[in-house]
């Protein structure tokens, strides 16, 4: 991954989880004199998408339009490990026509957890059901998130349970016109 991406000027990823991992390589290679500096350089220029737009580009209104009620699921890695909490909300608050509803127990994990979702399927199911119930409670027609894994998990479960909520990555929302 380092070799693949290290020549880029900046690295922007639409996933808090991926950004966290990119920033974590320096710890993985902390005892490696060759790879550690390369990993550090990679970490320094890696940004999560919303963080990049708000904190680096200094833009909060991207001119997006989307009609309806939405709620936002703050992914675990993005908020707790990467520390990106406010940027997505700032961007969403400027989307024309979009009404944001707070998600109850937003801090709870959706139960994805990579291999956990299949390895511990029944526990994962209970966790995602809790999340789906919270989303349903908001009466939102859109569930927005910034991490593909979580969205795939929550979205897949909502579809299975026949919930008419559209799952959108925040990039899709910001690209709506």
């Amino acid at each position: 991954m380092i070799a693949t991406f290290e020549d880029a000027e900046v690295i922007v990823t639409p996933s808090g989880s991926c950004a966290t991992m990119f920033k974590d390589y320096q710890h993985v290679f902390q005892d490696d004199p060759e790879w550690r500096p390369r990993a550090e350089r990679l970490a320094d220029k890696t940004y999560e998408l919303t963080e990049f737009i708000v904190d680096v580009l200094g833009i909060e209104d991207v001119g997006a339009k989307l009609e309806g009620i939405a709620t936002y699921h703050p992914s675990c890695h993005m908020t707790r490990l990467l520390g990106v909490k406010d940027a997505p909300m700032k961007l969403l608050s400027h989307v024309e026509g979009l009404e944001m509803q707070p998600l109850p127990n937003a801090q709870n994990c959706c139960g994805f957890g990579g291999t956990f979702s299949v390895k511990m399927g029944n526990i994962s199911e209970q966790m995602v059901d809790e999340k789906v119930d919270s989303v349903t409670e908001t009466k939102a027609s859109y569930l927005i998130g910034a991490d593909g894994g979580c969205l795939m998990n929550i979205g897949g479960r909502m579809q299975r349970r026949g919930k008419p909520v559209k799952v959108m990555h925040i990039a899709e929302v910001l690209n709506s016109r």
């Binding site: 994805f112 291999t115 390895k119 994962s124 897949g156 299975r160």
Partner: protein, 476 residues
């Protein structure tokens, strides 16, 4: 009972526990309350991050100099007339306690809640000696009465039981005739245990933190039972995990404040006691003989390794109280007296991967635990590290997982390969796709689609969209 509380497989345990709807409701309710209380207590104190950092540096410093502080502790306690026994194993610790019991010809032994005595299985050893061993913490007392039901939480051990179940236990074992009101149940326990306190030969407590500078043992309770156990019997034995120590009273204060706030959201609990050796010649209450048993039992094997930070733990259970996995499967699923995230890290280290290799996988690595820990143990990282050790060193991960990790490793390691792989994904999945979703997938997808649909890989990739987008805007 020792650290391991059952022989069932983790999966079977989970399946069984998840059917216990009362337990799950109780755990969810308790988590909600304890989480809120902890956050309020942290908010009220102010500078919480600074307090956590201070807690962390105290614990790290103490562990890095553990040999010095244990030496100092034992010297100072000896000066005050106390006896110190260093036990490398559970057997050594139990044998020492047994020898005191024999010497005193003790029959009735009172205990205050102590995880380390659960870990070494002390109660059953003493019961085999014909002793009457009585737990005095209300939660532990309930579990003991209920034919030694194991604890499911390290702070509130009977969390999994409701008041009706507790009433039934009391009715059956204590000839209790009142209602299931917590007040009435607690009062009944008070009256029963009061008589026991006055007749006990030996009191056994754990140790929240020993204080090296003075040779003291610090105990933290709300019920006042540790006071009873240490004030009334003539002989007292404290059993401590060797890492539960601080340099001076100043650090003791910091950690006690972090512990009580994180565990129950109280500024301090009702009773915090610092005991320094036996009673003095002028005093008439308190023990005439004081023993401290310092237990290793696998802890030194963690020192100096990448897992050392787990020994920072002050047993507050904040990580357990925020863990979404614990919420759904409860404490007994972990098969260890140490459940939740801390248990999933600590248990395999103390008990080995053979019996506990599933525990590090019982986490989404959501890091709620790491966030809650008052002494900043990077719990989710340690869980992840366990998985790496299991995969790399022990080769114990399931084959499918190893294959998937390897394949992604190769595929992601070069730019062209990654590009080709992402291009192929859509066509490979085509046979399983219906209305843009996959509801019955092949291979590893099967487990996924048992629970939820899977979105078909996008026909249009980002890199193609981006090129098209730039073209449209005249930039290509």
């Amino acid at each position: 009972m020792a650290m391991k509380i059952g022989n069932e497989k983790f999966k079977d345990n989970v399946n069984k526990q998840m059917e216990d709807t009362f337990m799950r409701g109780a755990v969810a309710g308790a988590q909600e309350r304890l989480r809120t209380r902890r956050l309020d207590a942290a908010e009220e104190l102010g500078n919480w991050e600074e307090w956590r950092s201070h807690g962390e540096e105290i614990r790290q410093h103490t562990l890095d100099h553990l040999d010095y502080y244990l030496q100092e502790l034992s010297e100072n306690l000896q000066k005050r007339g106390g006896h110190v026994f260093f036990a490398a194993t559970a057997e050594e610790a139990n044998d020492y306690v047994k020898s005191i019991v024999k010497e005193k010809r003790a029959k009735k032994i009172l205990k205050a809640k102590s995880m380390v005595t659960e870990e070494i299985g002390l109660n059953s050893v003493l019961e085999q000696e014909g002793c009457d061993v009585i737990e005095t913490d209300l939660g532990e007392y309930i579990l003991q009465l209920d034919d030694h039901d194991p604890p499911s939480h390290i702070v509130t051990p009977a969390l999994h039981k409701n008041k009706e179940q507790i009433k039934d236990v009391f009715t059956e074992k204590l000839d209790y005739k009142l209602t299931s009101k917590p007040e009435e149940l607690a009062l009944h326990a008070r009256e029963k245990l009061r008589q026991e306190f006055l007749q006990a030969d030996i009191g056994i407590t754990g140790c929240n933190f020993a204080i090296a500078e003075s040779g003291s043992v610090g105990l933290v309770t709300n019920e006042g039972n540790a006071g009873m156990v240490s004030d009334l019997p003539d002989t007292q034995i404290c059993v401590m995990g060797m890492e539960r120590i601080v340099p001076t009273f100043e650090e003791f204060e910091v950690l006690v404040g972090l512990l009580t706030r994180s565990a129950v959201g109280q500024k301090l609990t009702s009773y915090i006691t610092a005991l320094t050796g036996p009673r003095t010649a002028e005093e008439v209450d308190g023990p005439s003989e004081f023993h401290l048993v310092i237990v290793d039992n696998g802890r030194s094997g963690i020192l100096g390794t990448e897992f050392q930070s787990v020994l920072q733990c002050i047993r507050c259970a904040a990580c357990i109280n925020v863990c979404p996995v614990y919420r759904h499967i409860g404490g007994h699923s972990y098969n260890s007296i140490y459940p939740g995230p801390i248990g999933a890290v600590l248990t395999p280290l103390l008990g080995g991967y053979d019996d506990f290799k599933e525990l590090p996988y019982a986490s989404t690595l959501c890091a709620a635990c790491t966030d809650a820990c008052p002494v900043k143990i990077p719990l989710h990282q340690l869980l992840h590290r366990h998985r790496q050790v299991i995969v790399e060193r022990e080769g114990r991960a399931p084959i499918s997982e190893r294959m998937a990790m390897k394949a992604f490793g190769i595929g992601a390691s070069s730019n062209p390969l990654y590009a080709a792989g992402s291009k192929m994904a859509s066509s490979v999945m085509k046979p399983f796709t219906k209305d843009e979703t996959i509801s019955k997938g092949p291979g590893p997808l099967k487990a996924w689609t048992e629970i939820r649909d899977f979105p078909a890989p996008n026909k249009e990739r980002f890199r193609d969209w981006f090129k098209q987008h730039e073209k449209e805007n005249g930039k290509a």
